[in-house]
Symmetry: C2
Subunit: 154 residues, 2 copies
DNA sequence: ATAATTGCAAAGCGTTTGCACCCTG
DNA sequence: CAGGGTGCAAACGCTTTGCAATTAT
């Protein structure tokens, strides 16, 4: 039943195209595939891994194109980039608004935390150190329902 | 007057030694220098930069030693490692307890946010997504007092 | 003596870039 | 046939590792 929540998303072709255009990119065959594959992933993925999967699916696409597409989309805020692991970036298709992430340390599933009541508290706390807050990023680590169940029952 | 708050810290030799031992490292000449140089830095630094400075100070120390020392200390929680910039890690000597960071986007000054009232709220919010929280990391970006003043008066 | 630590240089790995080719309009 | 987009391979930059020399106990 939780699987429904975590189900891979399937984006309609129009949706993919509009997101690409939102990132200032023409919807080419390769870019569409990158975004679709990213949408199908409930966790976050590295560029290398994404490229490997696309190739495994029979797509003819270069690694450089995957990097170029991901970087362009991330810099336009169409997708989120993470730096959990030093040395490589992970990407994920996320909702547009301000949100934070819950990351399962066991299976890497990522859930979004959409309500964020941090601003007021942060502004106040930061002001004491003389800072004026412009942005913040919260990452929460833990175990998802499935991994917790597995741990208990297994 | 704010400079006092942000002043580079100077660690006593005993302090350096005890921190190294806390990280399971014998206080060798090189390790002491790495930790001292790190203490003298109010922002966070890369391993490369730290090595460059030590060399500039006349220290005979290899880059590999800097990396080994920083990694060992970071994995023991004696120093904090950051991954703001994809592709390289930054390090900083921090207080021991749970805390978060305020990073000035202009000058890279880092201040600590020691009070963190997030746990209860996080546990509750995450539970709704089926998660059990084990850890979290908050990074706050903004302008420090000095950079804000400079912006206004400059 | 024995074991740990260091420095150097080479290897490793994710990422970016130069450039020729290939599309699309 | 102009212009962006693509793939490949080479270059890149940070980091790690193998190994012989060095240092400490």
């Amino acid at each position: 039943m939780l699987d429904a929540m975590q189900a891979a998303r399937q984006l309609s072709e129009e949706d993919v195209n509009s997101r690409l255009r939102a990132g200032g990119l023409k919807p080419t065959r390769q870019r569409v595939r990158v975004l679709q594959e990213l949408a199908a992933e409930p966790s976050d993925v590295t560029a290398l891994e994404l490229h490997r999967r696309l190739r495994a699916d029979g797509d003819r696409i270069g690694l450089a194109t995957v990097y170029r597409t991901l970087n362009a989309l991330a810099s336009e805020g169409v997708i989120d980039a993470f730096a959990h692991h030093p040395g490589e970036s992970c990407f994920r298709l996320c909702s547009a608004g301000h949100h934070h992430h819950l990351v399962c340390t066991n299976c890497h599933l990522v859930a979004e935390l959409d309500e964020c009541g941090l601003e007021a508290w942060l502004d106040k706390a930061a002001a004491e150190a003389g800072f004026e807050v412009t942005d913040h990023r919260l990452e929460v680590f833990g175990l998802c329902a499935e991994c917790r169940t597995a741990r208990v029952s297994g």
